[in-house]
Structures are given as structure tokens and as C-alpha cells.
């Protein structure tokens, strides 16, 4: 292998090292430290007044897994992890439920429409994410557009309480992450040869049977990719639960934020982050394997 090829392959590894591994090690280091009222707000820090070697030894001696043990003692944390997992799983399923028909509709639309439909799906990205989530407050609140509309039509006599509940969080997540679900499913459905459906019909399937035994099967890589793309960021989601969710909506992203900025307990916050990453590694590895399998199947 020549040098330029090695250098080319090296770029992503350098990228990972500088932007992922190094920050992670710093966070991990903080998670092993203790809380202190100082700048930075943790101890020990590297002190080289007695020389580098002594400083590092002192640092090593000061590290322990106290914060991780603490996370297991206070039930807030594992409840937050579990609650996040639950919300992420349900939100992913809801997004799939909403996203699949949209992707299917787009893929079945006449080709000259598809570009415009694709554009419509991507269009919301042109506005800031934060503003779009804020807009939902205006829609979902007790005096919001939705309740005003429902009461005007007479469907309900009293406003529905949606904002500051888990429902608002689900609505926010489904809305925000929908394109991540729609686009991979659309791309796998778009490649689907119409004659495969006809072949299934020809061989004795009903319309619905052909959909189950052919369309769903061939959309599977897109469904898997889309689900991971929604699940992974949702698990650590912070903005949506803190803006739309109520005080009862427990998500680990919110806990992490409060630990860092309200409590200013960096070591515990860092430990929360490390555990979150450990949990996320499982789906990320699964996702990678799925992508790998797809690439091999495409060969």
C-alpha cells in the first residue's frame, strides 16, 4: 500500500481520534474526579509544581469510581435511563408508523412529483430546530391553535392538556425526526422494481400479500437504518423534553443538563454521559453491522 492511500484512509481515523476519542477521554477523566468548588469545578487537576511525574501520580491516586457508584444508589438516574429508553423506543415506533406511509406514498407518486415531495420533506430543515420546537408550544398549549380549533369545531368543550406531558414530547420527536425515517425508507422503496409486485400477484399473492411478502421485505434495510437514525439521537434528546415535556417527563438528556448547569456537578454529569455513551454503543454497533451487510448484499 502506498503512502497516499494510507494517508487517505488515515483521515477518518485522525478525525475520530481528535473529535471523538480525545473528548471522550477528557469526559471520562472528569467522571473519575470529585466535585469541588473551584475553577474547573472538580478535583484533582494536574499539578506540575513538583514535576510532571509527581503530578500524574497524584492525579491517579485521586481518581475513583465513586460517581458511578452514586449513579446506582440514587434511583433518579436509572429511572431516567429507563424512561429515556422507553420514550426513544415508543417515539421510534411512532415515527416509523407515520414515516412509512409517507415514504411509500412518495415512492409510488409519479416520478415528476417525487423531487418536489422530497423537497417538502427536507424543507423544515431550513428553519432552526429550536424555533420549530418553540412553534409547537404555540400549537399545543391550552390556548394554542390545536385546542382553539378543537373547541371551535365542538369536538371538545375543554382544552386538551397536551403541552408538558409525554404526548407533547412524542409529537415533538416524531415531527423533528420524521425526515430521518422517511428518507432511508423512501430510498429503498424507490429502487423497488414494480415488476416484483406484479410477479408476486402473478404467482398468487393478493395486493396485501404482495405488499407484505415483497415490499416490506425489500424496505427492511431502509426501515432499520431509519429506526436507528431516530432512536440514537432520541435517546439523549434534551431540547424537546425540556421545552415540550413536563416536570414528570424524565429523560437522561435533561438530567445531564441539570447536573452540568444547575447543579454544576461536572463529575456526576460526566459519569451520566459516559453511561449514556455505553448504552448508545450497542445500537450504533448494530447499525454499523446493518450498513455493512447492506453494502455486501449490494455487491
Amino acid at each position: 500500500m502506498n503512502f497516499s492511500r494510507k494517508a487517505l484512509i488515515g483521515i477518518p481515523y485522525v478525525w475520530l481520534l481528535v473529535l471523538f476519542l480525545v473528548p471522550f477521554l477528557i469526559v471520562f477523566k472528569i467522571s473519575l474526579s470529585d466535585y469541588a468548588i473551584s475553577i474547573p469545578p472538580y478535583t484533582p487537576t494536574l499539578d506540575t509544581t513538583n514535576g510532571w511525574w509527581a503530578g500524574i501520580r497524584e492525579l491517579w491516586a485521586g481518581w475513583d469510581f465513586e460517581n458511578f457508584v452514586f449513579l446506582t444508589q440514587d434511583d433518579l438516574y436509572w429511572k431516567a435511563y429507563l424512561s429515556s429508553l422507553k420514550i426513544a423506543v415508543i417515539a421510534t415506533l411512532l415515527t416509523l408508523l407515520v414515516g412509512f406511509p409517507i415514504a411509500y406514498g412518495m415512492a409510488s407518486a409519479p416520478p415528476e412529483w417525487r423531487t418536489s415531495l422530497l423537497m417538502l420533506v427536507i424543507l423544515p430543515f431550513w428553519t432552526s430546530f429550536l424555533i420549530r420546537v418553540y412553534a409547537w408550544i404555540g400549537i399545543l398549549s391550552n390556548e394554542g391553535f390545536l385546542n382553539q380549533f378543537l373547541m371551535w369545531t365542538g369536538i371538545t368543550s375543554e382544552p386538551l392538556v397536551i403541552l408538558n406531558t409525554d404526548w407533547a414530547v412524542y409529537i415533538g420527536i416524531v415531527y423533528t425526526y420524521l425526515p430521518f425515517m422517511v428518507l432511508p425508507i423512501y430510498s429503498s422503496l424507490e429502487k423497488l422494481d414494480e415488476s416484483l409486485i406484479e410477479a408476486a400477484l402473478d404467482l398468487g399473492c393478493t395486493r396485501i400479500g404482495a405488499f407484505w411478502s415483497v415490499t416490506i421485505h425489500l424496505a427492511k434495510p431502509g426501515v432499520i437504518a431509519g429506526s436507528f437514525l431516530v432512536f440514537i439521537p432520541t435517546l439523549g434528546e434534551f431540547v424537546i423534553p425540556s421545552l415540550l415535556g413536563g416536570s414528570k417527563t424524565l429523560m437522561i438528556g435533561k438530567v445531564l443538563w441539570e447536573e452540568f448547569f444547575s447543579n454544576r456537578d461536572w463529575p456526576v454529569a460526566a459519569a451520566v454521559a459516559v453511561i449514556l455513551l455505553m448504552i448508545l454503543i450497542v445500537p450504533i454497533v448494530l447499525f454499523q453491522q446493518n450498513q455493512q451487510k447492506q453494502r455486501e448484499a449490494a455487491k
Partner: protein, 375 residues
């Protein structure tokens, strides 16, 4: 189906498997199929031949149940097919793209239709193996479609369409994606399988050579209409129109006026001061109307000296020679400017052939070699 006795279309008592009665298909204002009447008989290998856009694929897809009929009716085995979906028809189709399910192995592709039929589970395995043997793919049962070559995919598609033992098999350009040599081999395999299984085949193709090779009868289509439905030899030797003569194989067309018609024979005056061409009279020609003389290049003899005892002979100059190996085509320019192709088999070595460029030659043919058609 080169069996001389097999000609149910000539037997008025024979019961057709498929019958089209006044079938019309409109897409908005566009007429894809224009009032077609056609009977196809059991065990036939029937070819729908025509240029792209002539409606041949639409006609076949109607049999499969993928297109509805705007007007008229289609019956298969006496049963009216209107409103019957593809999955309820004893008809299977081999798709142009093969349409093999990419997520299923070869064996599972073959079993797909059987699992959805009323065949008992215990018999499915045996039937799949039988089909694998039929197309000689026993070793590939476990492969996925993307691990197969084009020719293998084609055979899996054929086996899958035959697995349910349909009354009628539809083949949409089945050999279009294969290279020429493989295509020729596969044509004979197709005929072989058709004879072995006794299934009625309807094939759509734009390749006239393929249609000539495999079919018992050919329907030549143009613009949503059937121009001629006949056996390959009749289509070639006795086309009913200039369109058919021109579409099938190579042909020389000489235009003129019909000067005489008497029974099977007719005459065409084509150039002033020259004797009229004698030929077989085609359908619907009338004395005094315009007509065209059509003759195949291989039916024209070429010689340096004027042949004796032959009525049809014209003089010209060799303008070009196409050497094709087994035969040569001579392009001869006549006095009136028209270009005539004459073909001779190269039974002698190239050095011993007498003719070369710019030679003055005589072209001649017998009174029954060509046909006079209406224009």
C-alpha cells in the same frame, strides 16, 4: 412445434384456449389496442411481434390481468377474464426484467407461487427440484439472484413461471438481456421446454429472427392493430402488406402500378419501356391501382450474361458488395436509379467469384419468387 400436423388454426372445430373479441384499450385519448380479434390454440407457441409501442406488450399484459380491457372481451379456456385479478388466473408470466425476488434464494423463488397455491406442503419440495432439473440449475438452489449470471437468472424466471403448471405462459421479451450466442441456444431450449411441458406460450418480442425460430404462429402488430397472423413461413413468403414484408427480414420493394391480375399471378409495370414484372398476386390487389413488388434478396440470381428463358430480368451495375462470410450481398443500381439487393451463398472461395465493383450485371428471378402487394 415444427410438426407439420400441428395446425389447429386451420381446423374450424378446434377449440381455442384464448379468444380476443373486439378488444380495444384506450389510455385517455390514445388507443393502444384497436379492436383486435384473435384466437390462440392450446399448445401453441404464439409470438407477438412488432416495433416498440405497437401494443404487443399491452396485449400480453391483458392476458396476465395487469391491464384492463376498455372494450370487447377476452376468454381463456372459455372463461371470461373481465375483472379477474392476476392471482386468480391460471396464467403465469415471465417478466422482461425477470423480477426475481432478491431476498429469496433460487429454490425459494421457485416455491413462492407453490406456497400460495393449494399444493400440499409435502409436494412443494419435489416440484421445486423438478423445476430445477428442467432448467438444469440443481446446483444453484441455494444461491441468491445477485449471485447468478444473466442466463441463469433467465432460467430461474422461466422455471418460476412454469412451477405452477399454468395453462398459459406469457413471456415478455424473455431473451432480450442475453447476448446473441446465448440467445440462440436459449431459443431452442425454450422450444424444448414448451414441447416437454405442453404449455401454451405467448411470447412478446421485437426480434423477428427470434419469433421466426420459436413460434408456431406469429402476429405482426403495428399501431395497436394485427397486421398479419400466420405461420413463420407464410409471413416470410406471403406477407399481406408492404409493412409485413419490410418488417420481417430483408426485402426489395419496387413500386409501380398493377397492370394485370389473373388468379394467382399478377403483373406490375414499374418503369416505362421496360416489360412488367411478373409475380404472385397478393391479397386485395386490383388492376389499375398502385402496388409494390416485394422480393427477398436471396431469391434474386445475379449473372454477367443475360439469362435465357426468364421473364423477369433487369440490368444494373454492382455498386457495393457486402461480404458476410457465408454469403455476399450485392447492391445493384438499376437504370432508373433504384437499388436492389441480391444475395448469393458463398459456396466458392472468394478469389473464384466472378463479380466485382462497377461490373454490369443481370438480375433475374422466377415468376413466383416475389409477390405483388397493394400500397
Amino acid at each position: 412445434m415444427n410438426n407439420a400436423q400441428f395446425a389447429p388454426w386451420e381446423d374450424p372445430a378446434a377449440k381455442p384456449l384464448i379468444e380476443f373479441k373486439g378488444v380495444t384499450k384506450n389510455y385517455g385519448t390514445f388507443t393502444a389496442i384497436d379492436n383486435i380479434d384473435l384466437k390462440i390454440y392450446p399448445r401453441e407457441f404464439f409470438a407477438l411481434l412488432g416495433p416498440s409501442g405497437c401494443g404487443k406488450t399491452t396485449l400480453m399484459r391483458m392476458l396476465g390481468g395487469f391491464e384492463t380491457v376498455t372494450k370487447g372481451s377476452i376468454t381463456i379456456d372459455g372463461e371470461d377474464m373481465a375483472g379477474i385479478p392476476p392471482n386468480k388466473r391460471a396464467v403465469n408470466m415471465m417478466f422482461q426484467s425477470y423480477a426475481l425476488f432478491p431476498h429469496l434464494s433460487v429454490a425459494d423463488n421457485l416455491a413462492f407461487g407453490l406456497k400460495r397455491s393449494d399444493m400440499p406442503k409435502s409436494e412443494i419440495q419435489g416440484r421445486v427440484e423438478e423445476m430445477l432439473r428442467l432448467v438444469k440449475l440443481q446446483k444453484f438452489a441455494g444461491r441468491k439472484p445477485h449471485q447468478l449470471s444473466g442466463g441463469q437468472k433467465q432460467r430461474v424466471a422461466l422455471a418460476r413461471a412454469l412451477a405452477k403448471a399454468p395453462k398459459l405462459l406469457l413471456l415478455d421479451e424473455p431473451l432480450g438481456a442475453l447476448d446473441k450466442k446465448l440467445r440462440q441456444e436459449t431459443q431452442f431450449e425454450l422450444m424444448d421446454i414448451q414441447e416437454k411441458t405442453g404449455t401454451t406460450f405467448v411470447i412478446v418480442t421485437h426480434d423477428q429472427e427470434e419469433a421466426m425460430t420459436v413460434a408456431s404462429r406469429i402476429a405482426v402488430m403495428d399501431d395497436g392493430k394485427l397486421v398479419q397472423v400466420d405461420t413463420p413461413d407464410r409471413i416470410y413468403e406471403a406477407p399481406n402488406s408492404v409493412y409485413v414484408a419490410d418488417f420481417i427480414g430483408d426485402v426489395n420493394i419496387i413500386e409501380g402500378g398493377v397492370s394485370n391480375v389473373s388468379g394467382e399471378a399478377a403483373e406490375l409495370s414499374w418503369s416505362e419501356g421496360k416489360p412488367a414484372i411478373k409475380g404472385v398476386s397478393g391479397e386485395r390487389i386490383q388492376k389499375g391501382s398502385s402496388g409494390a413488388f416485394a422480393i427477398r434478396p436471396e431469391k434474386i440470381a445475379i449473372s454477367r450474361d443475360k439469362p435465357v428463358d426468364v421473364h423477369n430480368c433487369v440490368q444494373g451495375v454492382v455498386e457495393d458488395i457486402a461480404y458476410l462470410g457465408n454469403m455476399s450481398t450485392y447492391y445493384v443500381r438499376l437504370d432508373n436509379g433504384s437499388l436492389i439487393k441480391a444475395q448469393t451463398a458463398n459456396s466458392r472461395r472468394i478469389a473464384r467469384r466472378g463479380l466485382t465493383w462497377e461490373d454490369s450485371v443481370w438480375l433475374s428471378w422466377t415468376d413466383t419468387a416475389g409477390i405483388i402487394l397493394p400500397t
